[in-house]
Symmetry: C2
Subunit: 200 residues, 2 copies
Amino acid sequence: MPAPIEFYFDFSSPYGYIASTQIESIAAKHGRSVDWHPVLLGAVFRLTGGVPLASIPLKGEYSARDMARCARLLGVPFQLPSKFPIATQAAARLTVWAQQRNVDAAKTLASALYRAYFVENGDISNPEVCADIAGVCGHDPAQALAAMNDPAIKDRLRQAMDAAIARKVFGSPYFIVDGEPFWGADRLDHVDRWLATGGW
Amino acid sequence: MPAPIEFYFDFSSPYGYIASTQIESIAAKHGRSVDWHPVLLGAVFRLTGGVPLASIPLKGEYSARDMARCARLLGVPFQLPSKFPIATQAAARLTVWAQQRNVDAAKTLASALYRAYFVENGDISNPEVCADIAGVCGHDPAQALAAMNDPAIKDRLRQAMDAAIARKVFGSPYFIVDGEPFWGADRLDHVDRWLATGGW
């Protein structure tokens, strides 16, 4: 059984959202599964000195154009949210909670959270908004809301973040394929080719 | 006559080097020419707060791996120089000087400078090394050496930098195709497609 593809993403990352719409079909083509790892880039940036794209002069402006262009090329609906970037603790904790219950249902929920933010301009930094989305995905909204405040869930996310940093994850999306790291939605073609060829 | 593709690059940029080996053939496929614009990213970074890739924790290490991987995929010879990054005033000034004499010969020279640095580990921050390379490319080495100290050439590069910043160039490689900006060697496929389709 080949190892799953590790897919690290921050819910505030437009390129993470774009990648989330592509990675499962790329993996399936090669008989692989995908482990989804929500991460908090803010915590990573404190270590690496990184800053949110949108805040960088010139690069921020360019990136807004590039994100939309990349999404159009792939036929992925996309709209830069009016509040961007946002804190993503709530969405990440909710996903971690859902993963403990059912991994596939958690992917559905994570995709719904991403869509709510990058298509419908929903503010997923707000736990109540997240709980509503969980409700639409078949979870109990009250349980979902409680989960985002559960110290055990917070702890689990913290451990997952430590593990991600130990794996040298510094951006979103970030993939690890059989030990080989790939950063960025623009490396999806490399991921695809690596899976097909075993590397070059 | 369609507008030339604007190609901005810093001589210390590995992805700029990789792009320099590809952009002419992409342009030719679509009946386009390419204007080569050497830029000094250091000057841009002072405006944008950017830092050299190699100096960023985790990202620097990843990037070294990614550069080599991208080059291998394209069949482009590449070796991360032992001195990296470097100041690129000398190489940029020499290129500007050569452009005043003959644009095509200047592309040959720029490619030779890039190859010297990223294939042969030559220190092109050193004007004498640059002058030797100019000599191999059929220029007079003494004239080349003088050009790199010529206040008129320095001024011309400064003006070119101001123009690049006015065009919002913030990285290397950076392309402008019929007004549309593209940043990164990983956008060469977008440049190609944009030229083919007129945009999407």
